[in-house]
Amino acid sequence: MKYSNFVIFCLIFVAVSFFAAPLFCQRAGTTGAGSGTVPTAEEIIRRMQANEVHDTSYAEGRMLITDRFGTRTSTYKSWSGGTEDSLIEFTSAEEMGQKVLRTADAIYLYYPDASEVLRIQGSALRDSLLGSDISYEDMTGGRSLLDEYSVRLLGTEAIDGHQTYKVELTARNSRVAYPKQIIWVDTELYVTRRAHRFSLSDRLLKEMDILEVTTQNGKTYPTRIRLRDAMRSNTQTVMEISRLDIGVRLPANIFSLEELSW
């Protein structure tokens, strides 16, 4: 049962982290409402996505899952390289040493008590990522949101005191997890401030809010992200980033079996 609990926990973590993935490591925008020129919806998405990927990063943080029984906390460290590779190591007592390695064509789960590496390929886990907005294929296949969605600028709105572009995304095909999304992109920083995901019947499924962002060395990134399942009441997941180093030199061979079982 512990094994299955770990799998479930990893699914939640991967879903949340992927949900928030486009928000990590975004750079400050150079134009926007302040420039006097309103960009097109395509430009907004392109500029936002241009900030999604960095060569390397290292992060530490925690995930807080709150439901009617209270809040459970898990802490982690993560390393990422380019669009394909990432390694997550859980550091909280309950999941100590458990790891998830993502590569271009597989996900590896490492469970230290059994010294077992579970290699998962071609699975629905990889394809849908539990309905998160950005699928694994999106992250690794180099496809843009603009390839999967047609976009339309609905206008501007203030979100928690921040001026944002409100952009509607409508799926071009059925491969994506959500047929429709609405995202609110900061007009100055090009950071997503809010995102809503809808079903085919236009029913709201997921809500994401950026609670805090931090600007460091000219780059702005979220440090607190809240995810809510609109289908369930009294539950939410908050991802907190306590440390994020961008462009760090990663240890050689970190995205490998050696590091996974280290």
Binding site: M1, S4, E116, E258
Partner: protein, 397 residues
């Protein structure tokens, strides 16, 4: 391996007073050593303490078990019995340094008014970045082969036993004293050599004789990606035989693995029969809907032509939802018997570090079959209940 439907805690051996442990069992010495080590760790300067993680795992269980054929010399009697149990584990790990790590895991198992200790892990490892060498020493596990229950390619730990506890937290967690050197040959390729020594767990055999040369084993494995296939070849000499294995893991719609093994006796072995075995299986995880619900699926089979019965199967279906609930159905089947060991369990982990597990399980089949009702215990002197209802609470902090 102990057959136990009570959460792994009811079928423990006879009482071992603390004084006996300290006087005659290496476990007592180990306990004192670990106590000293952990005490020293607590007194260490802050920078050292920051690299050390200390966690405690507390487990309590209670169950009602029915035993049709209890072994002689144990507390259980024919019919229904109450089976309480508990385990306290102290886990000290050093994880802060990227070049050296270690872990000590000490379990204390209450038995009546006394308790016994079990050192389930005691290892350290270090690595040399160039050329990518990792050296591991101590009591630990190596993940040879593939398979959760049936893994004929696990030449180090031999995880092909049919005497498993289906509601146990870990199906494969046995550790072995060993020294291993692992050389990285690429992102998903490595060569590993190992020397191991088999020491029966003192908790089951407290008066075991010291290990001899026959308890030593030595071998190597190489793991390589061959296109979409992750392949492993292994060899081990031990127990007066040469063992070789080949394993392939790949995805074909879902995830598959297959392993083959050949055991060739040495000229000094009493039994000169060459034996072979095959284990194979499939597994996957299927997210259900657009919330955190998933179905984990695993099926495995073991074929040993020289054994009777020659075929075993294992199945595991686990449904998880809400991030805290899981419902599992597990079964170990001897199709040619026919007989089965089965369990259904529900787990709730809704509070920080706390898990509650409710399980029911038992055996089905004729008494002369492998998993039959009323069969003889697979381990002499060990209770092997035919039906069990258990509740287990576990807290990790």
């Amino acid at each position: 391996m102990v057959v136990d439907c009570t959460g792994g805690l009811a079928a423990r051996p006879a009482n071992l007073p603390w004084r006996f442990l300290l006087q005659r069992s290496p476990g007592g010495v180990i306990f004192l050593a670990v106590l000293l080590v952990t005490s020293a760790g607590a007194l260490a300067p802050l920078p050292l303490a920051a690299e050390t993680a200390l966690s405690v795992r507390l487990t309590a269980s209670a169950g009602a078990i029915y035993d049709e054929n209890p072994p002689a010399g144990v507390a259980t009697s024919k019919g229904w019995n109450f089976a309480p149990g508990g385990l306290a584990e102290l886990v000290v790990t050093s994880r802060g340094n990227s070049q050296v790590r270690g872990e000590v895991r000490l379990g204390v198992i209450p038995i009546g008014p006394t308790a016994t200790v079990d050192l389930s892990r005691a290892w350290f490892k270090f690595r040399v970045p160039e050329p990518g060498l990792v050296v591991t020493a101590g009591k630990t596990r190596l993940g040879w082969g593939e398979g959760l229950v049936f893994n004929v390619a696990d030449l180090v730990h031999g995880s092909t036993g049919t005497g498993i506890n289906l509601v146990a937290e870990e199906l494969r967690a046995d550790a072995t004293w060993l020294i291993a050197a692992t050389l990285s040959l690429g992102q998903f390729a490595f060569l590993e050599t190992v020397v191991k020594i088999d020491i029966p767990p003192s908790v089951i055999y407290p008066t075991v004789a010291p290990p001899t040369i026959d308890d030593l084993g030595a071998g190597a494995r190489i793991r390589l990606p061959l296109g979409p296939v992750s392949a492993e070849a292994a060899y081990l000499w031990g127990n007066l035989k040469h063992s070789t294995s080949l394993t392939a893991q790949f995805a074909l719609g879902i995830n598959w693995f297959v392993s083959g093994r050949l055991d060739i006796p040495s000229p000094w072995a009493t039994n000169q029969n060459v034996t072979g075995s095959v284990s194979a299986g499939l597994y996957d995880i299927f997210p259900l809907g657009q919330s955190d619900t998933s179905l984990s699926v695993r099926f495995e089979s073991l074929v040993v032509p020289d054994q009777d019965p020659l075929l075993y199967s294992f199945g595991d279906l686990t449904l998880g939802w809400g991030g805290a609930h899981s419902l599992g159905l597990r079964s170990l089947v001897s199709p040619l018997g026919p007989s089965a060991n089965w369990s259904v369990s529900y787990s709730w982990a809704g509070l920080q570090g706390l898990s509650l597990i409710f399980g029911v399980g038992g055996y089905a089949g004729a008494s002369d079959t492998t998993f039959g009702w009323g069969r003889a215990p697979s381990v002499v002197g060990t209770p092997s209940p035919d039906f069990a209802f258990t509740t287990t609470a576990r807290f990790v902090y």
